[in-house]
């Protein structure tokens, strides 16, 4: 046999290996599902890893309730089609207190709605291992993340005290209360993700494709306009041809000007694009090293 796997197939094989390790070594694993493109790839990999059976873990979505309507619709449709078990966790306490990025600032809003509720949901389900779709390429503190990211009883990441991870031999041993975050897509890039989606014909949320949308222009950012977004003085929504490269909460996800309406067009666009995909994620821009700080607190 003189075959070499293509780089996409090599990445797929590695990711499936990681998912099966988790299914075999943990009694209560869960897969974090954020509805985005990386999550869509994760679903397909999970389907393949355990085919013809269904994955032996549920999906967990932290629904801040600030998600796009298209996202929630997509989530419910896909999970029903695949027959995957979905747990939706709504951070009700924070919502009752009216937490939003306008009043509390993006950092505090994110800490309360995402980081804290993720930790709550993991504790509530007594999940020992949480599979997530984060990639090392996304952000520089993620570049130092292990595939098995050990978290202490408070869900915190200690970058100086990570377990060595030679070969693909993952050490998943934990004590009571400790957890492991597992990142099967560690070695994928944004381009790999789109090439795989194209190759495998994986459904994704329509927000990723360029369309004329009502937007607000704030500095360098394009913010989707909706009824509950307070307008700044003198601001009016404009119709702009754009798409989303990465999806989060509506208030904190910027769009990019784009004419890419198909998967091949998105791939072509990425080959020439000069801006990173998190450029439009407002939370990352808060301060130098902000992702590292959030991860230390328990963000995934």
């Amino acid at each position: 046999m003189n075959s070499q796997l293509s780089h996409i197939k090599a990445l797929e094989a590695e990711s499936i290996h990681i998912m099966r390790e988790v299914a075999a070594e943990f009694s209560r694993p869960v897969m974090l599902y954020s509805i985005g493109k990386d999550s869509s790839v994760m679903l397909r990999l999970a389907q393949k890893a355990f085919y013809p059976a269904r994955p032996p873990f549920p999906l967990l979505h932290i629904d801040t309730t600030y998600k796009f309507r298209e996202m929630t619709e997509f989530r419910d449709r896909i999970c029903a089609e695949l027959g995957f078990k979905l747990i939706v966790h709504v951070p009700s306490e924070a919502r009752e207190q009216g937490v939003n990025p306008f009043k509390f600032g993006t950092q505090k809003c994110c800490a309360l709605l995402k980081t804290k509720s993720l930790l709550d949901a993991l504790a509530h389900g007594a999940f020992e291992a949480a599979l997530g779709g984060a990639r090392r390429e996304e952000e520089k503190s993620r570049a130092k993340e292990r595939v098995y990211s050990f978290r202490d009883v408070h869900g915190q990441w200690d970058p100086k005290n990570q377990r060595p991870e030679p070969w693909n031999l993952f050490n998943g041993r934990i004590d009571k209360g400790e957890t492991i975050r597992v990142f099967p897509l560690s070695n994928w890039t944004e381009l790999d993700v789109w090439e795989y989606i194209n190759q495998e014909n994986i459904p994704v949320v329509p927000l990723y494709f360029a369309h004329e949308r009502q937007m607000l222009i704030r500095g360098d950012l394009l913010i989707p306009y909706m009824q509950d977004v307070p307008l700044l003085p003198g601001e009016t929504p404009q119709t702009i041809m754009c798409r989303f490269r990465s999806l989060g909460c509506r208030f904190c996800t910027g769009a990019v000007r784009s004419t890419a309406t198909t998967l091949p067009e998105i791939i072509d666009e990425l080959r020439t694009v000069r801006w990173s995909e998190r450029q439009n994620r407002i939370i990352d821009l808060d301060q130098e090293g902000s992702m590292e700080l959030k991860k230390r607190e328990g963000y995934f």
Partner: protein, 609 residues
């Protein structure tokens, strides 16, 4: 053609400009986004400090050093690259080893002004130990030596002396200036005397290692997929070789042989797969296969041993302890283990080994490891997956060491060579359906797993092969038994334990064999005729009673029980485990401690003997 993946690792210390080189590689190949550049510009002190592109953690930026392994990604139309960016200080040997463990190529940086340093030797040595066979020495800071060809040649000569020790390694030297961008992504005008490719060209065009391994099929079973009540698929990532529907596979540790009935593929049906694909296989028949089992080629299986010799890189603050309970994670197996001996420690500056009494953080030692269950492995230089393991502390859960198996523990091999295993002919006699095949098979598996050379001679199989010409008269039966005896004698003389399972009904011929074969052990597998007839495993008693089968032992031909057998198994009164234990107890007191073995056998289909 689809782009392929090249994983590389880098080594060099802060001062060699490693971060700058990687930053330059990413920047000049357009792998850095504008917003990332802006973020770096903001914190650069004057100009654009490319090193900051790769220093990810706050502490690193504050101290200006790299602490942990970071992974970088960039691509060209030809290849996708994953760079494991690892720190070079001695105290970070563990990180370098981690980065090198999955890499195919190493970039080792040198400062042109300083030439080969002790750490250069250490970096090359670690890369080589971890199985990397392509090393590029990047002679950096050529701008600081006026792009002098003489300086470059001088460093190359020093390198030649160092690299003599790196067997089978493809080596290449490139003069660069990461700061100025000479010979990194573009060829340099400052060094017209250098006619070779620039670094990126070299990385793009270097032939990839042939994934065709010297080894045949190996699939460590990670997970069992269950679906419909009877559906079982064995999932894992192929560690070596290839597999097709219909291929014969050997199951370890049970030593059963079967065939692959299906390769479960999502939305496709190619019927074949090869390393390093993640697959799931269904097998013909029902077997005890679970996580930790291995499916492999029967013609070329991995080695099996409970004592191995291995190189370990100690990664924990607490030094290695001998005879201390550790866990070994090897392929998909996690087993209890202890280090029984520290043979030597490697001096990474001289590459010599020295006897030592302790193995500490970042030291590399050769040890003997004993595991509570057998490992199915290949030497690390033949296969990185089946040859690697990590040691885990069962109390703190920390990963303590990375290990590379060199082979079954040599001490035991020496022992076997000095003290050749005495051969035996263990002769199972008894009525049809008394339990001879079942017991002999179980004993076979036990001895095999313990590492003895063992062979099973089944009367039925012998009849099909070398006694085809014989019938069932007393004369022919004696001739058949004599032939089996001859084979068993040959095996026993060569230190093999031959397990013979044959009715062999007549006492005289058995006694004749006893007098001829040294190490003859008679096992009377005894169950009353009524019990055997009730069991009638092969349906032969009913045929004999119906008169279809003539001269059937026990019905119309006599069985003469042994008068003084070494062992008697009453299979109507004792369990299989009890019978096996009796035989093992007898043999174990007469055998030396076992090492490893690599034979296997194909289970036979039965016909009457």
């Amino acid at each position: 053609m689809e782009p392929q993946l090249l994983r590389l690792t880098t080594a060099g210390s802060v001062d060699d400009g490693k971060s700058t080189l990687i930053g330059r590689l990413l920047h000049d190949s357009d792998a850095v986004y504008e917003d990332q550049l802006q973020a770096v510009r903001k914190v650069s002190r004057g100009g654009l400090d490319l090193a900051l592109l790769t220093d990810g953690l706050r502490a690193e930026r504050e101290q200006g050093i790299t602490i942990d392994v970071a992974y970088r990604y960039f691509s060209t139309p030809r290849r996708r690259f994953i760079i494991a960016d690892t720190p070079g200080h001695e105290e970070y040997t563990r990180n370098m080893a981690t980065g090198a463990s999955t890499a195919e190529l190493a970039l080792i940086l040198l400062d042109a002004r300083k030439g080969v340093l002790p750490q250069t030797r250490r970096h090359a040595c670690i890369a080589w130990l971890l199985g990397i066979r392509r090393i590029v020495f990047v002679i950096n800071k050529m701008d600081a030596v006026a792009y002098s060809e003489e300086v470059f040649q001088g460093v190359c000569q020093e390198l030649a002396a160092l690299t003599e020790q790196l067997d089978g390694c493809l080596l290449h030297n490139i003069p660069v200036s990461a700061l100025e961008g000479d010979n990194v992504v573009r060829r340099s005008d400052h060094m017209p005397w250098f006619r070779g490719d620039c670094l990126l060209e070299y990385l793009e065009t270097l032939p990839l290692e042939n994934t065709e391994s010297a080894l045949d099929f190996r699939l460590p079973v990670q997970y069992v997929i269950r679906d419909q009540p009877d559906f079982r698929a064995y999932a894992g990532q192929i560690a070596a070789g290839s597999v097709q529907v219909g291929d014969e596979v050997l199951i370890l540790p049970s030593y059963q042989v079967t065939r692959v009935s299906t390769i479960c593929e999502f939305e496709r049906n190619s019927g074949s797969a090869y390393a390093p694909m993640s697959v799931s296989l269904c097998l013909d028949g029902q077997f005890d296969v679970g996580r930790g089992s291995m499916l492999c080629s029967p013609a070329n299986p991995p080695q099996v041993a409970q004592q191995v010799q291995a190189r370990v890189i100690w990664m924990a603050e607490t030094p290695m302890k001998l005879h201390h309970p550790y866990l070994v994670k090897h392929t998909s197996q996690r087993v209890c283990a202890q280090v029984s001996r520290l043979i030597s420690v490697l001096d990474v500056h001289t590459l010599n080994t020295q006897p030592a009494t302790e193995l500490r953080l970042n030291e590399i030692g050769t040890v003997e490891l004993e595991t509570h269950l057998p490992l199915f492995f290949d030497p690390y230089n033949l296969n990185r997956i089946t040859g690697s393991f990590v040691l885990i502390d069962p109390i703190s859960n920390q990963t303590l060491a990375a290990g590379m198996i060199e082979g079954a523990a040599s001490r035991k091999i020496e022992k076997r060579n000095q003290m050749l295993q005495p051969g035996f002919a263990v002769w199972f006699t008894g009525l049809s359906s008394a339990g001879k095949s079942t017991i002999s098979q179980a004993v076979y598996e036990r001895l095999w797993a313990m590492g003895y050379k063992v062979e099973l001679l089944d009367g039925d199989v012998v009849r099909r092969h070398i006694s085809k010409d014989l019938g069932f008269s007393e004369e022919d039966r004696n001739e058949n038994v004599r032939r089996i005896g001859f084979l068993a004698d040959l095996l026993a003389k060569n230190g093999v334990i031959a397990l013979v399972s044959a009715i062999s009904p007549y006492r005289a011929i058995r006694d004749e064999l006893r007098s001829k074969i040294a190490g003859f052990v008679e096992v009377y597998v005894n169950a009353p005729l009524s019990v055997c007839e009730y069991r009638d495993v092969k349906g032969l008693y009913s045929k004999a009673r119906a008169g279809v089968l003539k001269k059937f032992t026990g019905i119309d031909d006599p069985y003469e029980p042994p008068l003084n057998p070494e062992i008697e198994c009453r299979t109507d009164r004792e369990t299989l485990a009890e019978s096996v234990a009796k035989i093992m107890e007898y043999l174990e007191t007469r055998l030396p401690v076992a090492s490893h073995s690599a034979s296997y056998h194909v289970k036979a289909v039965s016909t009457p003997d």
